[in-house]
Amino acid sequence: MKVLYFASVRETIGIPEEEIELLDGMSTVRELMTWLKQKDGTYERAFAEDALVRVAVNQEYVTLQHPISKDDEIAFFPPVTGG
């Protein structure tokens, strides 16, 4: 899966994107987040407040319950502030 980070989330994690292998037990966005948080403290910090993290799968907004699969593009970012 291609995982993208934007704005403050990107800044905290330190990279704009990475390839992550879909593992067993990683079937939803929430499970991917949990896995990332366990991997490294920077993800823990970036995702500290669940309510402030927005997720898009294949460029559409989704909830944390959304299923993920290996060809997905998954993006994490804070609430948008354009306009």
């Binding site: 993208l4 934007f6 704005a7 403050s8 990107r10 800044e11 898009a56 460029q59 559409e60 907004y61 993006a75 970012f77 804070p78 609430p79 948008v80 502030t81 354009g82 306009g83």
Partner: protein, 162 residues
């Protein structure tokens, strides 16, 4: 029409194109958002707009399509810049042209309200204390929610002439 770009845009020529040789347009409503020099008490020297290439265009196209479905519009336009901007710079232009003025106003208002809460852009403000990501505002959320009302509940009259 949707455009996401770093370059500035010429407001006059963009709007003129929307009504050029269009004799069915009675009203054209537009909104331009500009960079202000203050954020609360802090002076802003610059603002950097980050976006999610691909998803941005998709989100804007969906907002545009939604407006065209809700109101009878002859033309719509959304231009949003990204990259580094300074106070006074234009950030965004939304516009809607219709036979009737209420439709033009409502659609234009809708475009910016939904863009604000749905299009993946983020503002980083440069102040004397360094960079600060702009927080999302509750007032923008409630402005966007207004448009979730069903058509028939809407308080405004849509049949007023241009």
């Amino acid at each position: 029409m949707i455009r996401v770009q770093t370059e500035d845009f010429d407001l006059g020529s963009e709007l003129k194109k929307m009504t050029h040789k269009q004799t069915t347009v009675g009203g054209l409503c537009s909104f331009v958002g500009l960079v202000r020099d203050m954020a609360g008490d802090a002076e802003i020297s610059a603002m950097t707009l980050e976006h999610y290439p691909g998803m941005t265009e998709k989100a804007l196209a969906e907002i545009d399509a939604e407006a065209c479905e809700r109101w009878p519009l002859q033309a719509t336009l959304i231009i949003h810049r990204f990259g580094r901007l300074v106070p006074g710079d234009q950030i965004v232009l939304v516009a809607a042209a219709s036979a009737h003025r209420e439709a033009a106003f409502e659609a234009c208002h809708f475009l910016i309200d939904w863009l604000k809460t749905k299009a993946p852009f983020w503002k980083l403000e440069a102040t004397a204390d360094g960079g600060k990501w702009v927080d999302a505002r509750d007032s923008d959320q409630s402005a966007a929610r207004r448009w979730l009302q069903t058509e028939k509940d809407k308080p405004t009259n849509k049949d007023a002439a241009e």
